[in-house]
Symmetry: C2
Subunit: 235 residues, 2 copies
């Protein structure tokens, strides 16, 4: 995260998942924890990523849904995937970010963001095998809406063929996390007598809103109402 | 947004802000509204963007804070900006996405996401003039934490010099929006008798959390407590 005005955010010890030129990047190395459990945790909490890919010589950053199964990240797409299928071997960067709050310091310079972010690098592989495609779509569906794969009508052969799915290995990835209060509480600015702390940001599900075309008498399934009752999940 | 399993999301009429190869992209053109007011609205509601840039031949997607003043997007950064300053003339794509809810259809294939997303394309310019840098930092600070620029200690000359700020014109941009219920309410799947609708996602500020190092008796300023009292803003 390039967050706030503080040039480098607080460095925290960590180790990279893999030492490549990309994950060895200075900012990535400075921040942690970058272990596999942290990566899985960040990916497990979201369902929306930003996929970066070169298209016609320009970077394109596309918001898209994803699913992660511990070793592979599945990405649904069309703009990016069309480009990627047209140019196999194209590298991408997939970033998932959860914003947890604003870090409000005594000085503007020390302002920042509490966040958890994962970056996954690699060359995605178009999923063509119908079995794997179905498993990948299940992963992706359950990541965004747990319970829906078993509840809704699953893709038929025609729909499966019309769906583009990409698989990206989680082997090359990096995690950055910033937590806690501002860092200027014991510096000279503490004498200014200003309030400082964190303004937390919460993401919550609201109650299910029925499709106006839904006939009367069809209640939302428990996996949806339970979620709205308090579970928090970041987009 | 590449969202859900439905290959193209519902096309809605709209016009591009500018007709370039990038914003004429098929998916971008298909969706709207892409007028300037819509762009300003999407940008005004967030403070976190994902900046995509090529670094050493690989796309890098970096979460970073931004400010938008109606004509310019200011981005704070170091990884990306170091690369950009080292290679002036490098194109970037800055994407801001607000997730509003999950679209839960009768069929998995029609599942999707309600969202608003803006993409800004261009070649960022490092801001070096101290006056403009101060104005840009003010824009960026007020976007994330309105009221803090006047409350906290502003950057001094040394801090200003240590801060990297990039300016990107809003002239070449694109907006995509998806709202409303699923699209299979009047199709054959309606006969399945399944619940369908939207699970809304809300982003809210919690009450300010004081820095543990804060002396007793310093209350959070009104612009922070008021925000926590109910204002919703996406990260």
């Amino acid at each position: 995260m390039e967050s706030g005005h503080k040039a480098p955010m607080t460095a925290r010890p960590g180790r990279s998942l893999s030492q490549t030129d990309r994950t060895r990047h200075r900012r990535l190395r400075e921040q942690g924890p970058t272990d596999r459990a942290a990566l899985d945790a960040v990916l497990a909490e979201g369902f929306l990523c930003h996929l970066g890919v070169m298209v016609d010589g320009t970077p394109l950053v596309v918001p898209t849904v994803y699913g992660a199964d511990g070793s592979t990240l599945y990405v649904h797409g069309s703009v990016a995937s069309r480009s990627l299928i047209a140019s196999p071997g194209t590298d991408v960067c997939v970033t998932v970010t959860h914003v947890d709050g604003l870090v409000l310091a005594r000085s503007v310079f020390e302002h920042g963001v509490n966040y958890r972010s994962a970056m996954v690098f690699g060359t995605p592989r178009p999923v063509t095998d119908p079995e794997e495609k179905l498993a990948g779509l299940r992963c992706l569906t359950e990541q965004a809406a747990p319970g829906q794969w078993d509840y809704a009508r699953r893709p038929n052969r025609k729909e499966l063929a019309a769906t583009t799915l990409l698989a990206l290995s989680l082997d090359e990835a990096s995690v950055k996390v910033r937590t806690g209060p501002p860092d200027d509480g014991d510096g000279p600015d503490a004498a200014l007598g200003l309030w400082a702390g964190v303004l937390p940001l919460h993401t919550t599900w609201g109650p299910p809103q029925a499709d106006p075309l839904l006939p009367a008498g069809i209640a939302p399934p428990a996996h949806l109402t339970a979620r709205a009752a308090g579970a928090t999940r970041h987009g």
